[in-house]
Symmetry: none
Subunit: 216 residues, 4 copies
DNA sequence: TATGAATGAGCTTTCATTCAT
DNA sequence: GATGAATGAAAGCTCATTCAT
């Protein structure tokens, strides 16, 4: 057999597809109903497999949650890598890159959605979840810190570490607002575009030595 | 009888005190263990009443959660009102008020802590929770929008609505970071003070027409 | 609360009766179907209570099994004590006492029956069961050793310890045969009386310096 | 096809070897972990065949258990036959033959060990197991009865049938004690040798018209 | 009215058995 | 024929809710 971290590593294409479907189903259900409310039966049924089959691929419910976290990270990091490549190819001023970054973060979160909430939830209770989440955070933060560091001459802030951390927080929070609570936005008489323009403006003012003139 | 929104409105002082204790106990347990892990038996026992008595005061487990949300709002809004009064009494430039606001938000969250996490959790699955949360948000946002509006001459942003919304998001997110994930902060080589100074700086640059010179 | 060794010690008469019924039902079902085949649902239903109620009285399935062992021991030891008293009152030659002992052992086992088999079964897998069983054995063996020791002048064997152990084995085995496998006996063309007379005869020849003349 | 009593009767040598291995593996696992704890997956894996192949050779789990019983009987009866032959060759007094018989029984049980326990277990719940066990018992008892009958002039008991039955019981019980519960023996301050000498002594006193003088 | 024992639906997980490959 | 992944019924146990006292 071929087990690793409570997950079965399938050799065959069909098995891989099945496991894929299970992770996908779990991701959706965790996002929709939360970790506790989403039952393994639900997940299996939603993936079109029998209850027992779930346990061929994952040692227990937590294992599939961790797999979902990995999946979610892959997506985010895949996007981040693509973005980084694009930024490398056509160099533009940081002011415009910040705009891209904000738009990208929102799009990336649109897929991961409610699942993130569950991670925050289990973070407290479970050490494995906490470790994985922190690891991911650290990686993204490091990437952003490097990004800022190599553009230091454009910055007004000295403390690049702290700036990266706060920028990331703002990006995430804005994405949450835009994606998860669109209803809130509407009720507040706002819309996504108006919010995001303000976010970009705020980050520019905060980070850049020479922000573009004009408000959001 | 006198039921309202799944809660019993007690006439007698003793009953009022009991209900009080139940909400208090629930708030603590929800924050500590989460909505699902905190059992009604736990809550009742922790409040010093019998399991069955719980259901004299609340229609079900969700009802006490909503009551906790009200309680949590009362606290926040009480603090907000006190802050507003203080701001009214000794008028200082918005730049300094922003500093106060950030510190206050962190302190306010320190008390409500884990419970907030649960609200975010149930927000998605439950319409009542969502409605209540939105209502609260709206009220706080309106307050902040008014605060900014009357200091319009100090602002560089025109869209006060959007600015209030974004400012609130940043405040909340920063509070979460500072209060809930201190461990993360430490691991990232940061500390609360460094984070908060950056938050204040960012908000000043974003909001103020004439921000104080110097970085965070 | 009042928990002890995975068992709830009820204060009230009604609760006591319920627990009683549960132990009784468990004893019967374990004897009839074995530990694994007897489900907690079965036990609860057979005792006339809900599944969940089972777990108010016993921490888990093993706990009720241990309770059954205690119950079974109480019965055996109660009988042994009564027998010992009777033996004390009207002193008769050991030869006749052995007859009594055999008859008594059979009767005692008739009640406990198949449950004993389960004890033997779980003995191997579970340390708690093993400890309890060994303790009981030791106590009975000690009692029998004392019985023989004070009648030493009637014995032909010197090694009272070993004699007591073997006698006990023979008693138990004979009781099993007589009680559990009556069908076997019948098929073998035997009957209980014929078997027991042989047992008594064997023990007399083995133990007594001066066994009564004549065969079984 | 060629099915019989839930077992497939293979024609080919390779298939025969496979079935053999399955029975052997099952025997070991039943003895080690018990009927319920030993899974068909375990058994198949331990025999080096696929899970599904198990069901080509046995209708279900019970079928392999019955096959194990047959296998166990073959062993016992093989040993009995060998013993009988040896007894036929060098005729010695029954007193010495009893000693051999006791030692032999213990050795025979040492191999079958835990499996016997499982038979006792399933005996009650399952008619087929009971029938098979009874059949085996009957055969051995008949053999012992014949053995005693042809040595009738050395016996003090008349009822050879009953004597054979009881002797067998004692042999089995002693073997159990000696093999399975060595720990118990030690705790009781005894050892195997001391127990077995007493058993031989007891059987001699019980069976023989002219037992050797001296105690165990 | 307050109590807390009783309820039972529903959860996660296991495993004898089947069946597509 | 052999394989081992897939199946799903059923296990032990929990807990929101009810109800007799």
């Amino acid at each position: 057999m071929n087990w690793e971290n409570g997950e079965y590593r399938p050799q065959q294409a069909r098995a891989e597809a099945r496991k894929e479907r299970l992770v996908e189903a779990a991701l959706a259900l965790f996002a929709e109903k939360g970790f506790h409310a989403a039952t393994t039966k639900d997940i299996a049924a939603s993936a079109g497999v029998a209850t027992g089959s779930f346990y061929r691929y994952f040692r227990d419910k937590k294992a599939v949650f961790l797999a979902c976290m990995h999946r979610s990270e892959e997506r985010i990091m895949g996007g981040v890598a693509a973005l980084a490549r694009r930024m490398e190819q056509d160099r533009v001023p940081l002011a415009r890159e910040l705009d891209r970054l904000v738009r990208f973060t929102v799009e990336a979160h649109r897929e991961v959605r409610g699942f993130h909430r569950e991670v925050l939830q289990l973070l407290i209770a479970d050490a494995d979840v906490a470790a994985l989440a922190r690891e991911r955070e650290t990686r993204v933060r490091a990437w952003l810190a490097r990004l800022l560091a190599v553009r230091r001459e454009q910055l007004r802030v000295d403390d690049v570490e702290a700036a990266a951390a706060l920028t990331l927080d703002v990006l995430e929070e804005a994405a949450h607002r835009a994606v998860i609570f669109e209803a809130d936005l509407r009720e507040a008489g706002l819309d996504e575009e108006r919010l995001l323009r303000n976010v970009v403006d705020m980050l520019r003012r905060y980070l850049l030595a020479d922000p573009p003139p004009g408000g959001p």
